[in-house]
Each structure stands twice: as C-alpha cells, then as structure tokens.
C-alpha cells in the first residue's frame, strides 16, 4: 500500500540521519586529527610520551587509552552485581510494592545527578573517606574514579533491565512456577534467557556511558599522564585529558586531542563489536 511505502521510507530516512551524524562526526574528527598523525605517525597510538611544553611537543595516546579501559571495565564490574540486583528487586521480588516505587525513584535520581555534582561529591566527600581508609595519592586515582563511574552508570542498566524484565510474559513465568521451580530458577532459566538481549543492551549502554564520562572522572583521577601501574595509581582517561587540555590547546596539541577523540570513537566501536560477538557465542 502507498502509506506503507511512505512509512518504510520514513523509518529508513530516520536511521540514515544517525548514520549521517556519525559519519559527519568521524569526518570532522579525522580532519582535525590529521596534523597530529602527520607529525607522529601511527606511533601516536602507542606512544607513552605526553609533553605539552612548547617547543618540545611530543604527544602519545597510550596512557589515556589504558586509563579509559581500566576505569570503564572496573566500573562495569563494580556496577554489574549492583544494578542487576536492583533491577531484579524492582521487577521480580518486590514488584509493584511501595518499596519498589521508592527504590525505583532513588535509582532514577542517580541518573539525574549532573556529572559535575558526582565530581564535586567525589572530591569533597568520598575522597576524605578513601584517604582515611589508607588510599595513596590523596585519594585521587583509578579506583576512586571507577567507584564514581560505577555509581553513575547503575541507573542506566537498572532502569532498562527493569523494564525489559517486566515485559517477560507472565505465562512463561507461571509455567515455570507451576512446575515447581524456585524463584532463582525462574530467573536463571526463564527470565534471563528471554530478556537477555535487552539486559545486555543495558550494560552496553552503561559501558559506553562510563567510557565517555568526562567531568566526574577528570576531577578524581589525578590527571597523571602515565600508564596506571596499579588499581590505586593515578592516571588519566581520554575524555578527561580532552576536557582538561582543550581550553588552552591550539595547533599540534589541539590536533592531538582531536586525534584522541577519534581514537575513543574507534575503541568504543571495537569493544562494542567484541562484546556483541561474545553475546552471540553465548546464545
């Protein structure tokens, strides 16, 4: 039918918009990054050196790549059990109760806290606690940043998983219960398989969020342009170094920062692809 064709066209057009935006972004980033790659070649990606002093400039992205990966993975690992539990709490154990409403609202609030506020809270409140616990480096470092990141990404995975799990058809669950399954068994054998794709999508969203987080990380990670040598060492992430140095950057340094932005794009893509591949294998 005619309207059907139009509808299909509208749908397709809409997705093309996203592709265009992403493509345009890559184009603009590449354009800006070219001077850096011209100067340093592909060594840029693996170089450990970051010297911004005028006249002796030498830039390399490795410390930031390491920092980004370590903090995001740590954050995801910390948040996984927490957000999964919370989503089960909301959608299975205490569904539709007052408690669930309150918990749900609190979790949603976590998403609404500006990243700057996380940074401030982390700086003024969390850090002293960690210093008391004996953390080195004045409480700055990978660990602190990862904790804050974990807190920040909990709501994304929780809310989405909650919605998805709620939509698992009741008949499937009833069927399992009537066969004598315990709640745990229903969760592991019915809900998770059926909602798996949605749950994982939630975690991919969370991970992406952790990757790109700028303000909170930059205030807590210690901003040392080195490859982190331990969980409690200071370090830096790609997003954080861009935020830090962008205001004053020009010329080669600006180009290097844009190159890092481009690399972040690419690395996120690679990780996403690997993640999805693993999920397919699990299916």
């Amino acid at each position: 039918m005619n309207t059907d064709k139009i509808t299909k066209a509208v749908l397709q057009f809409s997705s093309l918009i996203i592709l265009l935006v992403a493509g345009g972004m890559i184009f603009s980033l590449v354009e800006g990054a070219v001077p850096a790659f011209k100067e340093f070649g592909f060594k840029f990606i693996f170089s450990n050196n970051w010297n911004p002093t005028e006249g002796k400039e030498n830039f390399g992205a490795l410390p930031f790549i390491a920092g980004t990966l370590i903090t995001s993975v740590t954050a995801l690992l910390i948040s996984l059990p927490l957000s999964f539990s919370a989503s089960l709490f909301l959608s299975e154990y205490y569904r539709r109760t007052r408690m669930a409403k309150v918990l749900g609202m609190m979790v949603d609030l976590l998403a609404g806290i500006p990243s700057i506020v996380y940074g401030l809270w982390g700086f003024y409140v969390l850090r002293p606690v960690l210093i008391d616990l004996g953390l080195p480096n004045q409480g700055f470092g990978i660990f602190t940043a990862s904790i804050i990141l974990a807190i920040m990404i909990i709501p994304y995975a929780t809310s989405l998983s909650n919605e998805i799990i709620s939509m698992v058809p009741n008949e499937l669950k009833e069927g399992a219960y009537s066969l004598g399954a315990t709640k745990l068994e229903v969760i592991t054998h019915v809900i998770v398989p059926s909602a798996r794709s949605g749950i994982v999508a939630g975690y991919i969203l969370s991970f992406g969020r952790a990757h790109g987080e700028t303000m909170a990380v930059t205030m807590l990670i210690g901003n040392a342009n080195i490859i982190p040598n331990g969980l409690f060492s200071t370090g830096n992430t790609m997003a954080s170094v861009i935020a830090n140095q962008f205001g004053e950057a020009e010329g080669l340094k600006l180009s290097s920062l844009i190159a890092i932005g481009l690399l972040l794009f690419l690395i996120t893509g690679i990780i996403n692809t690997i993640g999805k591949f693993i999920i397919k294998k699990m299916a």
């Binding site: 992403a22 972004m25 806290i113 989405l160 745990l184 790109g212």
Partner: protein
C-alpha cells in the same frame, strides 16, 4: 528422595534473594549520601529568589560571606536556559530516536539496521566534550557565527539519540509478535500499527529511555562550555549564548567566592529531574 535436592535449591534461592536485597540497598546508599550532602549544604539557599533572580557577581558574594549572610541572587538564567535547550534537544532527538528504534525493530538482521545499531551504540561512548567540539565545528562557526543555544541543543540531542534508539528497539522487541501480527492481519495500514498498537503497548519502555536521556543531558556541562558558553541574563534567542544550570554550577565552582552555591544549584537540578520522573510515571500510569 527429592527433599535433599529441594533443600539445596531452596537454600540457593534464599541466599540469592538476600544477596539481591543487600546489593539493592547498597545501590541506593550513594544517592542517599549525595542527597544528604546537597540538602544539608544547599537547602538554606533555596527560595523563590533563587529561582527568579540571576547570579550575583563575585564581589557581592564576597561581601555577603564576610558579613555572614546568604549569598544573594539566584539561577534564573540557568533554569531558563536549561529548559530552553532541553526542550529543543528533545524536539530533535525524540522523533529521530523513536523512529530509528522502530526501524531497527522492523528490520532485525538486515545490514542497514545492524550498521545503524552499531553506530548508535558507538555514539553512546563519545565523550560529551567531543560532541561539544562537533557542535562547535558544525553550528557555532558556520551557522550562528558565535556561541549559541542552538549549538548547545544540537550537542545535547546527539547525546540523547543512542539511548532513545536502543530503549525503543529493545522495548518493541519484548512485545509479543502476535499483537502486531493480529493488527496486520486485520489489514491495518503499517503506520497505524506503529502509532496505535506498538507505541502505546511499549509506551512505558519508550518513556523510560526518553526520560533517562533527558536526565542525562540535564546535567551536562562540558559540551555546553563550547557551544552555549553561558550568559548572565535570561535568553531565549537560539542564535545567542545562553546559560544552563550545570554551566552555572561550573562557574560557581570556579569562583572563589561563590563555591557555596554549587550545592543549592545541584539540589534544584535534582528537583527538576525528580519532577520529570514523577510526571512521566503519572503519564505511564494513565496510559496503562
């Protein structure tokens, strides 16, 4: 007999349940701590003045502090700017995001859909400052010849897209195929199936995704620094610089005399998020 096994299964079940409860409580611990911090440090600043007036300058703040008074002024310019840019960003992002999500749902497994999905996921991981840079290159320089609310909105809308796309797709996927097939079998035109059947059924999930994305951009600072820049006055002109609450928080943080205002501004921002949550939950309850 099966009792042995049953005992183990029941034990596992109970341990799991306790773990879930403990972890869930741990999850809300940070929010309680943060809210406590914000309220205890910020509540005394909240008043009608705070919402309706613009910020003081650093000297006014300094004199107030040395006199032991409350810092005067408020964040009216920030509130206006945030609402303005968030609405504009939503107008751009919601239709594009939802429609793309529907496209992905309808074209599972097809190459274009897979590409779009992957690209959307990657966009999710782009740091907000890079999006600000992009909006700077695309809008600030060529279109508005200066920092502007439009540039700010565009950077925010790009940030919203991946979340809306993904949650739309995943929500629709959970709707039993039978509902959609029944409608199609009745000869309902495709677009009506979408508008009258799919979207209403998946409304709660869709709204969650939209809400999450709006919550996220409400608190974004970095992209706005390069696009909207900020302003000391209330501004509704999309081609001119405009303030936003997170920008103001950043400005307060960086001003030696106005640091105390960060808590009350954050509190207000959270109030906005909370209201948004409550309103949308009401909407969802109505449609159910």
């Amino acid at each position: 007999m099966q009792t042995g096994k049953l005992k183990i299964r029941t034990l596992k079940n109970n341990i799991f349940k306790s773990t879930v409860i403990v972890f869930s409580v741990v999850t809300i611990l940070p929010i309680l701590l943060i809210i406590y911090e914000l309220v205890s440090k910020g509540i005394k600043q909240i008043s009608f003045d705070f919402i309706l007036k613009t910020p003081p300058d650093t000297f006014e703040a300094m004199t107030a502090l040395s006199n032991g008074e409350l810092i005067p002024g408020g964040i009216a310019n920030g509130i206006a700017g945030t609402l303005f840019m968030v609405i504009m960003a939503s107008v751009i992002a919601i239709p594009v995001g939802v429609i793309t999500g529907i496209f992905l749902y309808e074209n599972q497994g097809k190459p274009l859909a897979n590409l779009t999905r992957n690209v959307s996921d990657i966009l999710q991981g782009v740091p907000s400052i890079v999006l600000g840079l992009i909006a700077y290159i695309w809008i600030v320089k060529p279109v508005t010849h200066g920092f502007s609310a439009l540039a700010g909105s565009v950077s925010l809308s790009i940030m919203m897209l991946p979340m809306i796309v993904r949650s739309t797709e995943e929500t629709l996927k959970m709707i039993p195929q039978t509902i959609k097939e029944a409608a199609l079998a009745l000869g309902v035109p495709y677009y009506k199936v979408i508008l009258r059947v799919l979207v209403p059924t998946g409304f709660s999930g869709l709204l969650t995704g939209i809400l999450l994305s709006i919550s996220r951009i409400l608190g974004e600072t970095a992209p706005l620094m390069l696009t909207a820049l900020g302003s000391s006055a209330i501004n509704f002109n999309i081609a001119k610089p405009t303030s936003a609450v997170p920008l103001l928080i950043w400005e307060f943080y960086n001003d030696p005399n106005m640091v105390d205002l960060i808590w009350s501004s954050s509190l207000l921002l959270m109030a906005m998020v909370l209201s948004l949550n409550i309103i949308s939950k009401r909407i969802v309850a109505r449609t159910k």
